[in-house]
């Protein structure tokens, strides 16, 4: 696989999103920083509810209204801070320069409009295409995602297609306006393995062809291993470790990353006993003082109880962009032991 990775295109710095709920104000995204280069695939991995989707939505400024609100940080896209953009300008970014594919193919297409209508809508919004040729552009986009007989399919409604097909249509909508960045929020969770692998392959091909940058959100390390160049591991609203994919797999520094890797059974060999992380992830409104992982961490030390660890670079083969938020990294030889 030959990929050319270029300059940083999207840089998220200390993004913070607040959520007003009955319980009070919570921060599902609490200081997330990410960086994505041209042609690169960044994987965001973490358990359910750790703020992955919210991070993506915050980048695009479409957090659920009126409960949520982005309150801090910067989103630098091609050198401009998206957070200073007007709604009008943001609309041009959304679906145009940065597009997104959502998790559930069953519900992410509007059931009452045709496939063609939904693809053309995106094109009409972002590309300067005469009305008459909108449909042919839509058909092209569908062809690009390998929808068979797209000329006929454009007249179909979502319910007339299978789940995998629908997910491809979502993909067609996302790439129809030649975006620079594609955010894929668990796009394959609802698909069968065989369909999933077809879809992932398709994404890789498109990326190779167009030099697209992808943020891939998932909770599945298999997808990360298969797709990503760099990885950010999120826990309870923050990134706890990030770095090149091999470094994360081979030399995870954060105990949480290692624990996750060890708690997933593999089909490649028989494991006698899986590691299981004790306890639950903390609730958003009930995060402990100090390191938020310390209650579940076998390596917790007294200072973990008081201070949230800063991002510390891991000195290893992967270079400087492997960092983790764990006090243990102050010991530069620290690698989380296999449990």
């Amino acid at each position: 696989m030959a990929k050319i990775i270029g300059e940083t295109i999207l840089q998220v710095e200390n993004l913070q999103t607040e959520l007003h709920t009955n319980i009070g104000v919570q921060r599902p995204v609490d200081g997330v920083s990410l960086s994505l280069r041209q042609g690169e695939t960044l994987g965001i991995v973490g358990e359910s509810g750790c703020g992955k989707s919210m991070t993506a939505l915050s980048i695009l400024g479409v957090v659920p209204k009126p409960a949520a609100q982005v309150v801090g940080g910067r989103v630098m896209f091609n050198g401009q801070d998206l957070r200073t953009f007007s709604e009008q300008q943001m609309r041009r970014i959304r679906g145009g320069s940065i597009s997104m594919v959502l998790q559930d193919p069953q519900t992410s297409l509007n059931p009452v409009y045709t496939i063609g209508g939904q693809v053309t809508e995106a094109i009409a919004l972002h590309r300067d295409v005469p009305r008459r040729s909108l449909m042919s552009h839509a058909i092209d986009a569908l062809r690009q995602v390998r929808v068979a007989a797209p000329e006929q399919r454009v007249k179909d409604y979502p319910h007339q297609m299978s789940g995998g097909m629908k997910q491809r249509v979502s993909g067609a909508i996302a790439i129809s306006c030649d975006p620079h960045v594609l955010i894929a929020d668990e796009p394959t969770t609802a698909l069968d393995v065989t369909i999933q692998s077809q879809y992932l392959r398709l994404l890789r091909e498109i990326q190779e062809k167009t030099g697209l940058s992808i943020i891939f959100i998932t909770h599945d390390f298999g997808i990360i291993a298969n797709m990503c160049d760099t990885v950010a591991v999120m826990y309870a609203g923050r990134v706890v470790e990030s770095g090149p994919v091999r470094a994360i797999f081979d030399e995870p520094r954060h105990p949480y990353t290692r624990a996750l890797l060890n708690s997933v059974p593999t089909m490649d060999r028989h494991v006698k006993r899986l590691y299981s992380i004790p306890g639950q992830p903390p609730a958003l409104w009930d995060r402990p003082a100090g390191c938020w992982y310390r209650n579940r961490c076998p390596f917790a030390e007294p200072r973990c109880e008081t201070q949230y660890p800063p991002a510390i670079a891991a000195k290893n083969t992967a270079g400087s962009n492997h960092v983790a938020n764990c006090w243990k990294l102050e010991d530069s030889t620290w690698i989380t032991p296999k449990s």
Partner: protein, 303 residues
């Protein structure tokens, strides 16, 4: 905040502290409407219904003819009859207090009868499906296609208007709504895994329906009932208008409004106060019902 707020977004959601101007104060008051509703309901409906015998200043059925059509106290009347008197010199306040009892009992009994029937049939239809469902849903369709008010007219023609007639009509109107709503929910609940687990545990159909399914449609039933107390009061009023209400001289709100409607110009208070009682009560009940619905299950499609 990237999305511009819709025009009427209150200022506070923009992060700007809003001055407590009038609109906001009203809004803050309204936000507590469940309390307000409960208060109104207690004052207008429940307390009078329970205590009319002691608190009502006058006999609700016996008037003083010479005191007929007296206006309310601040409109030229006296404290003797704070809300004025009706065409027969009966105290409107006392009649409204006793009327609360009538309205409450019609609603409660009617909803109970209709609800019991509807819930039972809806439960059976949704749980067993098949031909039982077919028959019950056909009955529902028949009942919806038969206008209740005509049934009321026919019944009243046959036996005269009475408490029982009204209950039958109310039950007839309500059961189909309950049956439809409950059936729909049961259809989805019976597919839940906990129902399957109860079957795996060996629970009988009866036990599954009563212990496992019924409690889970209880929300719907409660919300539906709250919302329907209002419609029953309005229905009673409509029946009274047609001369099919609670027999005289029992004071019923609908009957009082219907009775005073002709004198809306010269003796407006005769129909205004019972009308106000109806409106406030029904309004509060609906608010409460909506609030309950939002609380219990905001997606509940109840009409």
């Amino acid at each position: 905040m990237n999305n511009p707020p819709p025009e009427d977004t209150p200022a506070e959601s923009l992060g700007v502290p809003a001055p407590p101007h009038l609109l906001r104060r009203i809004w803050l008051n309204l936000r507590s409407y469940p309390l307000l509703s409960v208060f109104v309901l207690l004052v207008l409906l429940v307390i009078p219904a329970l205590t009319a015998d002691w608190l009502a200043p006058h006999d609700p059925t016996q008037g003083v003819i010479m005191d007929r059509r007296l206006p309310p106290v601040f409109f030229g009347g006296t404290w003797e009859y704070p809300l004025g008197t009706d065409r027969l010199g009966r105290d409107i306040l006392s009649r409204i207090m006793y009327g609360a009892r009538v309205s409450l009992s019609i609603s409660l009994v009617g909803i109970f009868v209709g609800g019991l029937l509807g819930v039972t049939l809806g439960l059976l239809a949704g749980y067993f499906r098949g031909w039982i469902d077919t028959i019950i849903m056909r009955l529902v369709e028949i009942s919806l296609a038969l206008p209740a008010i005509l049934l009321a007219l026919v019944l009243a023609a046959a036996s005269g208007p009475s408490f029982q007639t009204i209950i039958i009509v109310v039950a007839f109107v309500l059961w189909a709504l309950y049956a439809r709503q409950v059936r729909g929910e049961v259809l989805s609940i019976r597919e839940r895994d906990y129902v399957a687990r109860a079957r795996v545990a060996g629970a009988s159909h009866f036990r599954i329906m009563v212990r496992h399914i019924l409690p889970n449609v209880a929300n719907t039933i409660i919300v539906l009932a709250t919302l329907q107390v209002g419609s029953v009061i309005i229905l009673e009023a409509a029946l009274s208008f047609l001369g099919l209400g609670i027999p005289r001289p029992t004071p019923a709100w609908g009957m009082m409004v219907a009775d005073g409607r002709q004198l809306i110009v010269s003796a407006w208070w005769i129909s205004f106060f019972p009308g106000l009682a109806i409106t406030l009560t029904v309004f509060s009940l609906n608010l409460l019902g909506d609030w309950l619905r939002d609380r219990l299950d905001p997606k509940l499609e109840i009409v």
